[in-house]
Amino acid sequence: MSLALPLPYGCLVWIRFILIQNRAGKTRLAKWYMQFDDDEKQKLIEEVHAVVTVRDAKHTNFVEFRNFKIIYRRYAGLYFCICVDVNDNNLAYLEAIHNFVEVLNEYFHNVCELDLVFNFYKVYTVVDEMFLAGEIRETSQTKVLKQLLMLQSLE
């Protein structure tokens, strides 16, 4: 049997989780790309909130987190956080967040926090269109929106 041990460091790269939280620490989306049990998830959510909210705007959008790093961006009262391996490309994920937010904004016509709350099942669909298995799946806003509209027409 060959064994599923990780490869040397240079190679080990994928998104471990995506979190959207508000300033009070309420989770608006949690998407996990590796196995965690419920307690662990709760702990991660709290830790990320604690790490990210204390940083001011002059700080970098990156912060070391356990053996990983969080790349985050704040939009009004919401923090969009992506946890990746330390040697992954910071700016690529920083813009992936923005790309995602622009799609949400277009899809929900000027998105706000409550859209994410009440349309959670649609948000999951948007995430799956753009990120899958911890990797970037589709980056074209046109293509994603076209697909989302097609799915909406099936409702």
Partner: protein
Amino acid sequence: MLAGSRPGVGKAATSRRLAPLCSPSPGKSKEAEIKRINKELANIRSKFKGDKALDGYSKKKYVCKLLFIFLLGHDIDFGHMEAVNLLSSNRYTEKQIGYLFISVLVNSNSELIRLINNAIKNDLASRNPTFMGLALHCIANVGSREMAEAFAGEVPKILVAGDTMDSVKQSAALCLLRLYRTSPDLVPMGDWTSRVVHLLNDQHLGVVTAATSLITTLAQKNPEEFKTSVSLAVSRLSRIVTSASTDLQDYTYYFVPAPWLSVKLLRLLQCYPPPEDPAVRGRLTECLETILNKAQEPPKSKKVQHSNAKNAVLFEAISLIIHHDSEPNLLVRACNQLGQFLQHRETNLRYLALESMCTLASSEFSHEAVKTHIDTVINALKTERDVSVRQRAVDLLYAMCDRSNAQQIVAEMLSYLETADYSIREEIVLKVAILAEKYAVDYAWYVDTILNLIRIAGDYVSEEVWYRVIQIVINRDDVQGYAAKTVFEALQAPACHENLVKVGGYILGEFGNLIAGDPRSSPLVQFNLLHSKFHLCSVPTRALLLSTYIKFVNLFPEVKPTIQDVLRGDSQLRNADVELQQRAVEYLRLSTVASTDILATVLEEMPPFPERESSILAKLKKKKGPSTVTDLEDTKRERSVDVNGGPEPAPASASAAVGPSPAVPACCDGLGNNLLLFCSLMFVCKNNGVLFENQLLQIGLKSEFRQNLGRMFIFYGNKTSTQFLNFTPTPVPRCGLDSLTRTHLNLQTKPVDPTVDGGAQVQQVVNIECVSDFTEAPVLNIQFRYGGTFQNVSVQLPITLNKFFQPTEMSSQDFFQRWKQLSNPQQEVQNIFKAKHPMDTEITKAKIIGFGSALLEEVDPNPANFVGAGIIHTKTSQTGCLLRLEPNLQAQMYRLTLRTSKETVSQRLCELLSQQF
């Protein structure tokens, strides 16, 4: 967008129905919310249990409500069956809610898995791209082993089938990637692999984006099979970077063509060495030059999105340039580009430039170019507001340090230390200590630096650091007088750190005589100075000082009565601490009964410590974890030399007073006897030292290992004044019983000069290749003539299986998941044994790291246990290894468990490691 919360609730019909459940206004009490939710749960439960069968729409409505309640943070213990039922609906919305419920709420060992898999199977076969997409996303999100078993055969077929829709291909590629990560053994390579590589040529850039991730992961494990991806990736990349900003339409992001795909392609190329085909290589170099050129062009947009996307590609290109480390021109250009970023107004860019430069500093081509930015980096250390940026500046200063700038860098780090954040002080202390030692031309400077460290950040100076300064002072007689004078002066300060008292006590005990001629530091003054600190110190320090006092008795007979009075005092002789009491009693007795000669012998000056590499390096690495880029570099350069049995010397132990035992394994009486020594235990966890010594010959070793290769430098020293003739050392691999026909180890070497002059040393280099795992260490046979007699010595060479270990970091979750996967009885080997050495946590950690495995902190629920992970590299295979060591302090026992996929490996590693504790 997201500018503020709008009044009212969502638009869709479902949203309105969910509204009463949600209380976004914080005013409502938690209790009221729970009450409302329980009521709703009861209602849903009764609907599900009701006599009337629910239609699909109602079922969806209630499952969706359950999901919503779960996401609000409440437990849900029913509704699974209804969700599974939704999967077989023909309506998209019902199916979607069913799949979502399952991805979020169903764990892999559920008994429903069979039903779920069945529904997925139907959807995969449905030829309806929407349903296929939902099914593939569900597999990718759950990714359990059961799903891998069920679908690892099917997904590749969907991926490469000619009639699959593009969006389904994208999902299938990443779905397969998830299954491969979970259970690589269930995803066999096959005909599909070559067709997957050709997806890099696909028309649809979304398909290329997804496929590149899959190919990168597969190529890491199977580089040969995916070799053709290199030229395809280069040509794809080339087409992207040379395209005009509007060519790629949908995939142009703020005027940057396909930034994410470019990053992924550049990352795929980092799995391989530079392309061999000159045409491909030339094209790649052109791409990289184009990317560097674009960085100099005026921006096409003022938006930060534009510059971020452009720079994401640039940084990845620089990573590839560093990875190849072969084009001096590109390396220097990369360095100049990063130099510009160091002063950029964007904090993100300054941070990334510092980080990236750290790796550039270790390339011989760009090291000098990096050094030119020293002033900017020092300035960053002083002015950056974000601690993580300052931390990167420290890392970079450390990486760019060499003999030419060491004094400046150390001085800057010391002055930063005064105000540094507490979280990074210890690391800075270690770095300063390492640099000061590594680049010390003048050891007086070294001593000053370390004493400064103790003065500024005494609490963060670990034992390794002050042990090390003592080792160095003892080994270099040119600095001893200066050291004694300096510590004496430093101790004058009214409040000095306890670590300074330790160093001061130790050094004055050895070399106080060198400054005793000066009446200002006469023996009595020295003693009074030390003793004035005594009562404020902790027990170990007081124990050390007592040893200093007895050394003074030998050095300065005139203070003997004073010291005897102190030892005789109740606070010593009757001290509640057993160690202090014993020292006082023994030293007092020694000073009374022993003659001057005996005293002089027992309390002789410490012999030099065997030259060894710093254990501080190991400490630094342990602290940082082997995951940062700088650290990778350190590992590359220093893996061979950093490991060191443990924190020695231990001046605080009683043996310090009488000198440590020499660290040479002199187990040979040897004149002309054929001695076969067993692989010296001390070499299992370290790579350098004296292997063998008798009256004629000393054999020293220095070795380094990387993956399945190694290189060993053997030094033969002629200890006599007569020539050795016909000197022929031959290393030979030995075969175990299981391998009469196969060699497990290849050793290559050249013969050395057959004449070794008296007092001379010759060197032999042995190149080692590990073909497969082995148990028998090779033997070094040495024959030579000395003064007319024929000498024959055989020594085992310490090349053990663990030398081919590469550490692997992983989370607790991963560790235990893999641990469970390796549960066959043949995969596990366990040994329970008695501790042969004191059970010290730090020493144990150092040994596990020295053994080659990663030491995983916070993985085992019991903090007293140690767990490690790594990969044994041989030419024929890579074997993942997990280990766990459980000490039992009361019984003075250990239990060691090894789990690997190969029985012989588990067995051998367990044997080797068991002997170490």
